[in-house]
Symmetry: D3
Subunit: 118 residues, 6 copies
């Protein structure tokens, strides 16, 4: 049975393909392209950039964006305590309305760790 | 089996009835009433107004509002390429946090077209 | 079968425990602690504070936060008409994008009243 | 010399007149009209409604809206401690990004009290 | 004496030059570039796109973005009544917190018309 | 003549003192206290945390919060290129509505560097 991570990735991949195969929308395609470039190593390293993307997603309260950055942060070897410290700052800056997204972030992180053990 | 469009409309209709039959809340009823009037033809035509409502909904990241305006835009004869160009502007102005809503917008638009073919 | 209220409370309790048992995140724990204190009686009474929390949650469009404050408002004896008048102000200040959250608030309130009758 | 309160009221009055004398925009006029009605006594009293408007304005970080509700709250006899307790909830729910608005709210409240003494 | 429009344009031009001459930030430069392309004629005409940009800016409550789109809308020959009808939809969707931005939009539009007469 | 940095710090210090000397508001004082603790070294170092605070402030479009974190980032020895790369991610995630805040961030950073040379 697919867990939260796989469900998320399946839907994301399927819909992104639809969007990128739609010839009509050049602006959206270029934004997707920028999105890939922005998180590559530069003056800041990849781990730091992933945490920046995560915190931006958390304060703007975008569950799918949080899930995406949690997965990339996990792949890059960021630890749970580092990720949760970043989300602590997000909750302070963004307020208690971030808490429901924090619950779902914990659930998603658990699913990421569960997948490691398989 | 009801598709995304029918599910959305059923829930929306059922709950709007509850809200409008609740005698207590005059302010909410008047906002509902304004909402109907605001999208009628005036200095701007209905198609333009639907696109304005769609882009406002997209940058404010309200999936149900996006779905509602997609359905009306579709009924008014706006094409997929027009709608997606409007959503491209929304994604640029509102940032990559709009992308998850864009995925769901593509899915909903497909359900609208699927219904046409039945 | 658990209704909306019980589902919400079960998930909320389970995930809050995970968060509070995670030794790493002192900032988040202290925010949770503040959240409990902020709604206690002070210069303003508990009912007024619950309505303030509800309206803040509604204009920021946080369904889980709305559900939480609806439940507490209901426990504190606030009536449906008082709660809906507060949500009317939220819809006016926050705009029609609040309406989908209003639908879910009505549904949740009905589930709260349904639980009373059991 | 006009203080903060008078400057704010002068600009607000002057521009509202322009907006209300502009025959073109019926929707905006009706929203202004609703705005007057929403804060009148109903199931909730005027003081509570002003605090709801204040907290909604604070979490949405609208300085002019905060100033308007501070002035009305002050006229209605709400005390500084009541108003600041409401803004405390707003800062908790909306996060530390509310703090700069809190500074300006304190400054505006002082200007309101200063006017009392003249 | 420079009016609101000239002040806005001077600051905007000066700072954009600084940003675009800063070699370090490729992502920001590419976003600026996208921003130019997104409002060019495509499936939708330039006037419609300017209104979409204006409404997106208004509901997200960005005064400088509103000013920019008002100026471009004015150059494209959109009339005051068309622009204000679009802002009416923005105020309905985004709520009464949009009203202070509406006041400043009226003021900026007057400055645009004043410049025409010189 | 005080520059932007000094003006900002003077107002900020003066109003924070008023807020912290106001005995009535325990919640606000505790949030201020949390705000100091959250950016101290932990699993993440101080520089990373400042960048997280900066990006959170930028996507939530809080000029005073951006200024505060720019000043602290500058004190911690973060370079302009690191800071602007972080703001590039913020502009991508938060959209073109972040650009006016980016202009003011560049202006504030220049004032910080100008102060160094005195």
């Amino acid at each position: 049975m697919p867990n939260k991570v796989q469900e998320f990735n399946n839907y994301r991949t399927q819909m992104n393909e639809k969007i990128l195969n739609d010839d009509g929308n050049k602006i959206i395609k270029r934004i997707f392209n920028l999105d890939t470039n922005a998180y590559m190593a530069g003056a800041l390293d990849v781990k730091t950039k992933e945490l920046l993307g995560l915190v931006a997603s958390a304060v703007l309260r975008c569950d799918d964006c949080i899930a995406y950055h949690l997965e990339t942060a996990h792949k890059q070897g960021l630890t749970k305590v580092e990720v949760m410290e970043a989300l602590g700052i997000a909750t302070l800056v963004g307020g208690t309305i971030v808490i429901p997204h924090l619950r779902r972030a914990y659930e998603f992180w658990d699913a990421l760790e569960e997948n490691d053990q398989q």
